[in-house]
């Protein structure tokens, strides 16, 4: 291979199969065509389908398994209720937990799916399934949702990473079969850049170094077409571009004014940073909030966690709306699974996948509605079950991505969502 490949061309070394003849490359902002590792295995047809929608996604990931009954699917008066009480929102018929008071005025933006019925109910496998749409048991390098959205929604002119994670991650599958171009860029838990991204030399020196590096590597690459080089080169380019764009992550001064609204917490700062990154064009940002795994003391655990979540999430929605970004930014509130309707002997709730809740907002989602329902005790889905595939399909559809987009790992096809997955029409604007 040489790095002068143009879109639509291929190289014999990568002919893993006849199918993979149809692979492409991307061109970086620096004007240099580099191997898109993922594109080695993506069909030209799909590449042509990759429409730059301008849509964005912020995923709020509640690590440990958030309790649906203690947030958006409350069961007052039932044995499964617990001590939290529902409060009214700005939408008749929608009530939320009393410890989400700042979210209550945003209910008109929320599509609350109360009928999630999912299969993987332990932490590793649950996070994997809810982040890749496929079970971990398949032993396949699936791509995380962030990588998929980065692929189809990124702005190739942007110097910023297209898939950013802050705080605890839902899973570590990364870009999988989509290749290193879409690997997540991990910020600190508070949304700040890692130390390597803060060079000790001036911009002028950095630019000179970058030019020199580009020249040397171009010469070097002519003789070395191997895939690992492309991956390495991709990482370097991303770093150089990140150096240029790092001011986008510097929210320190603005944070001083915003922290009272978001809550002076890592998660709060992460949400604020996410607004700034969306504004700068980053297509996917995941922000994790740790600590929902409440096998004991579920109610104090959730009370503590919700006190962090409520101001951060509500301020995120408000700022997106005020800046005119909400219409094109899908905000997803999710977890690896829900928690049992039964309260155990440790005042806890355990893992549960048979009937739980996720929430979507913005990005064109029709807010102010419940979708699906659980039964009176929250034990089973009573109406409109939603599985992992439907959930992903809905997100992809909202963002303008074909939820059945086909990709390849070698000769093996893999789809963005499994066969039979369907977007929830009622939620789509």
């Amino acid at each position: 291979m040489n790095i002068d490949l143009q879109p639509g061309t291929c190289h014999p070394q990568h002919h893993l199969s006849r199918r993979s003849l149809l692979k492409g490359v991307v061109t970086t902002a620096s004007g240099m065509a580099v191997a898109n590792w993922g594109a080695l295995f993506n069909s030209q047809t799909i590449a042509a389908e990759a429409k730059r929608t301008g849509k964005r996604c912020i995923m709020l990931y509640m690590e440990g398994g958030v309790s649906q009954i203690d947030t958006f699917d409350m069961k007052p008066g039932r044995p499964s209720a617990g001590p939290y009480r529902p409060i009214k929102t700005n939408v008749g018929g929608i009530e939320v937990c009393e410890y989400l008071p700042q979210m209550a005025p945003h209910a008109d933006k929320l599509a609350i799916i109360r009928s999630m019925k999912t299969q993987s109910v332990d932490h590793g496998i649950g996070g994997y399934h809810m982040m890749t749409c496929y079970p971990a048991s398949e032993k396949f390098p699936h791509a995380e949702i962030g990588a998929m959205i980065a692929k189809y929604c990124e702005n190739p002119e942007s110097d910023l990473p297209s898939f950013i994670k802050m705080g605890i991650a839902g899973c570590n599958a990364g870009s999988g079969y989509l290749g290193p171009k879409y690997e997540p860029f991990q910020l600190g838990t508070d949304g700040q850049l890692p130390s390597f991204a803060n060079p000790g030399v001036s911009q002028e020196v950095q630019d000179r170094r970058g030019e020199l590096l580009k020249f040397i590597e171009a010469q070097h690459a002519k003789q070395r077409p191997a895939r690992p080089f492309a991956s390495h080169r991709e990482a370097e380019l991303r770093t150089i571009r990140l150096m240029r764009a790092r001011q986008a992550f510097d929210v320190g001064a603005e944070w001083e004014k915003a922290k009272d609204r978001y809550g002076d917490t890592r998660f709060g700062r992460g949400c604020f940073t996410a607004v700034k990154l969306v504004e700068a064009g980053v297509p996917f940002i995941e922000i994790g909030q740790a600590g929902y795994d409440s096998h004991n003391d579920n109610f104090t655990v959730h009370k503590g966690c919700l006190s962090i979540l409520d101001p951060a999430w509500s301020s995120l929605l408000k700022d997106l709306e005020d800046r005119g970004l909400l219409e094109d930014t899908l905000v997803v509130w999710t977890s690896e699974f829900g928690r049992t309707p039964l309260i155990n002997s440790q005042a806890g709730r355990d893992h549960y996948g048979r009937a739980w809740t996720v929430v979507l907002a913005g990005g064109g989602i029709r807010g102010g509605q419940h979708y699906g329902a659980s039964d009176p005790d929250g034990v089973e889905v009573a109406d409109n079950p939603v599985n992992e595939g439907d959930y992903f399909a809905t997100i992809y559809k909202t963002l303008g991505i074909d939820h059945r987009a086909e990709h390849y790992l070698g000769s093996r096809p893999i789809w963005a969502t499994p066969e039979g997955s369907k977007p929830i029409k009622e939620l789509l604007g």
């Binding site: 044995p79 001590p83 009480r85 299969q119 109910v121 332990d122 605890i168 508070d190 809550g263 002076d264 917490t265 890592r266 998660f267 709060g268 909030q289 740790a290 600590g291 096998h295 004991n296 003391d297 104090t300 655990v301 009370k303 503590g304 966690c305 006190s307 962090i308 049992t340 309707p341 039964l342 309260i343 155990n344 002997s345 440790q346 005042a347 806890g348 355990d350 893992h351 549960y352 996948g353 048979r354 005790d377 034990v379």
Partner: protein, 365 residues
């Protein structure tokens, strides 16, 4: 020195409607308990040998879980605090009220469940008991969040309550009049008041197992001057764990604290005796409770401290030298907690709130 060698359970009072959270002996022959459903039941323990007492009264009015109850030293008033944000007074002596019925077994067994295969168990045929339903005689409404902590002075003149907004209120107990309030940084979760009513020891915390802010422990422990409403000793930097239980001895010589509060499954329920003036550690009591301590009670003999824990143990400690006298109950690594204990004024009975759905009454003699 009493070694409580003959202590044994004399009554097991079944009540599984919801987890029993708190218990208080009324005088030397009755016991009250509250649960997470918001009910309080009262049993008369004076029954013929071999007969299990049935509840005789239901104290109805709270609309959320009962977190703590206590009985005033004169035995006339029962006071409860609840997650419904209220403090309520009840006539602990009278038997006036409406006739009613309680079902003692209408709760769902609280087993741990992980995985997909779950089905709510069938509710068994009801065990119904006729009771007198009493209403509260007073309601104090100065709190705006769960009221989780409650204590009083031995003379029955001062009541102290604390809530999850961090508000601590000192009340004139007989009058139900607020005397002073102050704000703690976190949830005011465990309180003790010195016998002279001048100092309140307050444990405060927020259950956040993954800190969301640098250099933030989310816990504190301070001794507050009731007259000024200001802290006079701040031990927040000295404590390494959240304190789930706090109590002063009636003679004012001891301040006991127990690690607890649910910060994590590996929390050790260490009980420590502190100097009541300075808060300095005098003696750490070993062996600790597994999973956390839940309650503390000084025995009327002035020589022993009882502690309850999430390990289903009630531990008896000798104050003089910190010796562990014995345990009551069978330990469990993961199961229901003993969430509250109470000792009768004559020191002959101990009641324990067992989350398994029963109140245990021990004879200590």
């Amino acid at each position: 020195m009493n070694n409580f060698a003959d202590a044994k359970v004399i009554h097991t009072l079944p009540w599984n409607s919801d987890a029993i959270t708190t218990v208080a002996l009324i005088g030397n022959d009755r016991v009250a308990a509250g649960n997470k459903r918001g009910d309080i039941l009262v049993w008369n323990l004076s029954v013929p040998d071999g007969k299990t007492p049935d509840p005789v009264r239901r104290l109805a009015g709270h609309t959320n879980e009962i977190n703590r109850i206590l009985v005033t030293p004169d035995g006339k008033t029962l006071i409860s605090v609840s997650s419904d944000h209220t403090v309520r007074y009840w006539d602990a002596q009278g038997d006036q009220g409406e006739p009613g019925t309680v079902v003692l077994n209408d709760g769902i067994p609280r087993g741990g469940v992980i995985g997909l295969k779950i089905k709510l168990p069938e509710i068994p045929p009801p065990i119904e008991v006729k009771v007198v339903v009493q209403k509260p005689i007073r309601e104090l409404s100065g709190h705006e969040d769960w009221v989780a902590s409650l204590t009083q002075t031995p003379d029955g003149k001062t009541l102290v309550t604390g809530d999850d907004k961090g508000i601590v209120i000192v009340w004139d107990l007989p009058a139900g009049k607020e005397l002073r309030r102050w704000q703690t940084k976190y949830w005011a979760r465990a309180l003790g008041v010195s016998p002279d009513g001048k100092t309140v020891a307050a444990s405060e915390y927020v259950v956040l197992r993954h800190p969301e802010k640098e250099k933030e422990s989310y816990r504190g422990f301070r001794l507050w001057d009731v007259e000024t409403g200001e802290p006079k000793v701040d031990l927040s930097k000295d404590i390494k764990e959240t304190m789930g239980a706090v109590a002063y001895s009636a003679d004012g010589k001891w301040l006991a604290v127990g690690v607890g509060g649910g910060m994590g499954p590996e929390q050790k329920g260490t009980v420590t005796l502190l100097d009541p003036e300075t808060g300095e550690k005098v003696r750490e009591l070993t062996p600790h409770h597994e999973l956390g301590a839940t309650d503390l009670a000084f025995h009327p003999d002035g020589k022993h401290l009882f502690s309850a824990g999430r390990d289903q143990h009630v531990k008896i400690w000798q104050l003089e030298d910190g010796k562990h006298v014995r345990n009551l109950g069978e330990p469990k690594k993961r199961g229901d907690w003993i969430s509250s204990i109470s000792i009768s004024p004559d020191g002959r009975l101990l009641a324990a709130a067992d989350g398994a759905g029963q109140v245990l009454v021990y004879s200590l003699t």
